[in-house]
């Protein structure tokens, strides 16, 4: 723990380098060496990241379809009942695996693999190893999901993929990616480790530990319940959340061209997250048949989660304060800033839900599912989308072809998740209050939850439309020849952008750029 984080500082690794539009001939204030390092870093990770992103988007579509089917089944129970592989319990689990271990994991690993070489000023070491790891991991997830659909299920939530069929692929695949990342850090040229690096390395230390504990084959009885929720809660905090927060710590200051608000807060946020999040899991078993001290420990730790959440929240939000206007110009910033806000919101909601009096109502209801989608979607997936909008152009050498598709994607997924969460939260509260009133028959809790379940299906369908738009746009993006449209204007440029000035643009172009068809269209749009 040394020097304060100053992303502008030359020796400071990392971070978000300056906007400094004033420094004319250098590209946005970059020294030529920095630029060279960055280009080499991007080139070294290009193939791995693009493959992981493509895989991620494939899983996003698969997961969306399974999610929609599962959602329909909760209010149309006679929908698709003839085939075993389409029964609710299997498609729901396929959805969970496809979106968490397929989409979110691949997207965040891809982002981490891209970030790390940049942050430590070197090339990705063992890019082929990482690629092989990504492929093996994907095979493992596929085997796990096909198994679940065929009825091969290890029986614990979040750990259903068969430990002997899928496990080796996941362990070796994830291990190879981790190996490549640790080799990259070992070969670093930047001395200082930027906060994003802590989270990425942490994730690759924590996840293997969690997986081994969760999949250990000897647990039984209530002990297996404790292990189950120890894993299932921590896989969010130490895998998806860790990599997402790491990405948010990079992209927010990077796009804004402004340092992170406070180095001290990022240290507090990181270590207190590790300390308190790791003890949270038993709040999924409030009132259940496990020793009371375990549940109490988790409730206390859940309340203490205020510390990392507020520290990280202040840090990320205060970096944005005063620059909210920039959200109009950068899709990356829009997605990541909203994701960061959702992180604060979902974490505070989680602490609150762990309290016994709240948990009495919400436990065993759709509230929990809504909560998990605020975390898994509005936070993690939004950060992943934002990262992809930033990273892919730097890998394929041209900008996203359509501003309109970016807008449609953003608007659909924002509307979709809002409808989803509001409807399902309402459904959960109605269900929970009905369950707590012993005079009401169980039937009432079912009937009162159903309107919200229809709302959730609507939200889910809108999300799926957004994903199709995004997948189509990604496909358009990668199939264009490299450098085809040398884009001269950043997207969302209609209003006056903050990082974009005519001088900087002229400096970058050097010569008048050939205007591709879409760039032409955009230019007309501004005129």
């Amino acid at each position: 723990m040394t020097a304060p984080q100053s992303p502008q500082g030359a020796g400071g690794a990392a971070a978000p380098a300056a906007s400094a539009v004033g420094a004319a001939p250098a590209l946005r204030g970059l020294a030529p060496d920095d630029l060279e390092i960055r280009l080499r870093a991007d080139e070294s990770s290009r193939v791995v990241v693009l493959v992981l992103y493509a895989v991620a988007i494939g899983w996003l579509l698969v997961g969306s379809i399974f999610g929609d089917i599962a959602s329909f089944k909760l209010h149309w129970p006679d929908f698709l009942t003839r085939q075993g592989w389409l029964t609710f319990g299997r498609v729901r689990t396929a959805h969970l695996h496809a979106v968490n271990y397929g989409w979110a994991t691949a997207a965040l690993i891809g982002t981490s693999v891209w970030l790390l070489p940049r942050l430590v000023h070197t090339e990705l070491k063992g890019a082929l190893t990482a690629l092989l790891g990504g492929v093996l991991f994907t095979i493992g997830i596929t085997v796990g999901i096909v198994g679940v659909l065929l009825g091969v299920n290890d029986g614990m939530e979040w750990l259903e993929a068969n430990r002997y069929a899928a496990g080796p692929f996941l362990v070796i695949g994830g291990g190879l990616v981790g190996l490549s990342l640790f080799r990259t850090v070992a070969a670093r040229r930047a001395q200082h480790l930027y906060v994003s690096v802590w989270y990425i390395l942490g994730a690759f230390i924590w996840f293997p530990m969690l997986y081994v504990v969760g999949k250990w084959p000897t647990w039984s009885g209530v002990e297996s319940a404790a292990v189950n929720w120890f894993f299932a809660h921590n896989v969010l905090g130490f895998w998806l959340t860790a990599m997402s927060v790491g990405a948010a710590y990079y992209f927010i200051p990077k796009v804004l061209g402004r340092p992170i608000y406070s180095y001290q807060l990022s240290v507090i946020g990181f270590w207190s997250l590790a300390l308190f999040y790791s003890l949270n899991g038993m709040h999924h078993l409030v009132g259940g048949p496990i020793p009371t001290w375990m549940v109490t420990t988790s409730i206390v730790a859940s309340v203490f989660m205020f510390i990392p959440v507020v520290a990280t929240g202040i840090n990320l939000h205060m970096t944005v304060v005063g620059r909210f206007g920039a959200l109009r110009h950068s899709p990356t910033l829009r997605f990541v800033v909203l994701g960061a806000i959702a992180y604060t919101a979902v974490s505070l909601q989680g602490s609150f839900t762990a309290l016994r009096e709240v948990n009495r109502v919400t436990h065993f209801t759709h509230w929990t599912v809504a909560h998990s989608h605020v975390g898994g979607y509005a936070f993690v997936s939004f950060v992943a989308f934002g990262a992809m909008y930033y990273v892919v152009p730097r890998l394929v050498g041209h900008e996203w072809p359509s501003v309109r598709l970016v807008r449609w994607h953003f608007n659909t997924v924002l509307a979709g998740i809002a409808i989803y969460v509001i409807a399902l939260t309402w459904s959960g509260v109605a269900q929970g209050l009905a369950l707590l009133d012993a005079r009401l028959p169980f039937q009432v809790s079912v009937e009162r939850s159903i309107p919200g379940l229809y709302g959730r299906s609507l939200g889910g369908l809108i999300l799926t439309v957004g994903h199709l738009i995004f997948a189509y746009h990604f496909w358009l993006m990668v199939r264009m020849p490299r450098g085809a449209t040398r884009r001269t204007l950043p997207p969302f440029h209609e209003a006056q952008p903050i990082l974009y000035t005519a001088e900087a643009d002229a400096a970058r172009r050097g010569a008048p750029a050939p205007a591709g068809a879409s760039a032409q269209r955009r230019a007309e749009g501004t005129a």
Binding site: M1, L74, P77, D78, T81, Q83, G84, T87, F88, G89, R90, R92, T93, G151, V152, N153, G155, E157, L193, L201, G202, I205, W206, W219, G221, V222, E223, A225, A226, V227, N228, F230, W271, A274, S278, M282, G287, P289, I290, P291, T292, T297, S298, F364, T365, H366, T368, V369, Q431, L435, L436, D437, A438, F442, Q443, S445, V446, E447, S449, I450
Partner: protein, 204 residues
Amino acid sequence: MTRVSLLALGAFAIMAGAICLLVLVPQAMLADVQAPPQLQPYTERQLAGRRVYIANGCVYCHSQQVRDPAFTTDVDRGWGARATVPADYVYDRPHLLGTMRTGPDLINVGQRLPDMDWHLIHLYDPRSLVEWSTMPAFPFLFEEKPRSAVGPNDRVVTIPGPRAPRGVVVVAKPQAVALADYLLSLNRQYPVAADTAGGPRAAH
């Protein structure tokens, strides 16, 4: 921070500490929990039924736990006469405590609904028995065949009411019978000592 080793060690140590506290210590504490004498181990067929329960994801809608009556209405709903305790689950591997009650709790369903035919009909078509049910039907656990093809060992299930399939007889596959048998085995109504390890007595 500039040292990867320090970062890695700290991250590892914190997680290792959490594993000790929430996994290994409870494991040691719960190691000597004995099965109550009235609790029978599952039979082979019940275990097969339990695998069908897991394979089809019943746990995502049905819990298997009764919580403290001072804290919840579980007992008032008739889901059990007492809160369940760790000893009730010693034969469960893995646990199926569940986290959702889209459907009712099942830890004592064998006592509440002790008729196998009821369960078979209900699995084939829940809404033929419970009109408002949103449970999925599981027709793939059954065969539908012409009456002439029914063998002497077939377990015929007679579906009541207008939702019965026409012109065919419904025969339960072994998985359906095993699953129903497992459901009938879910009965944790025997009394337990109040101090049974980790009971939720002092829940709040």
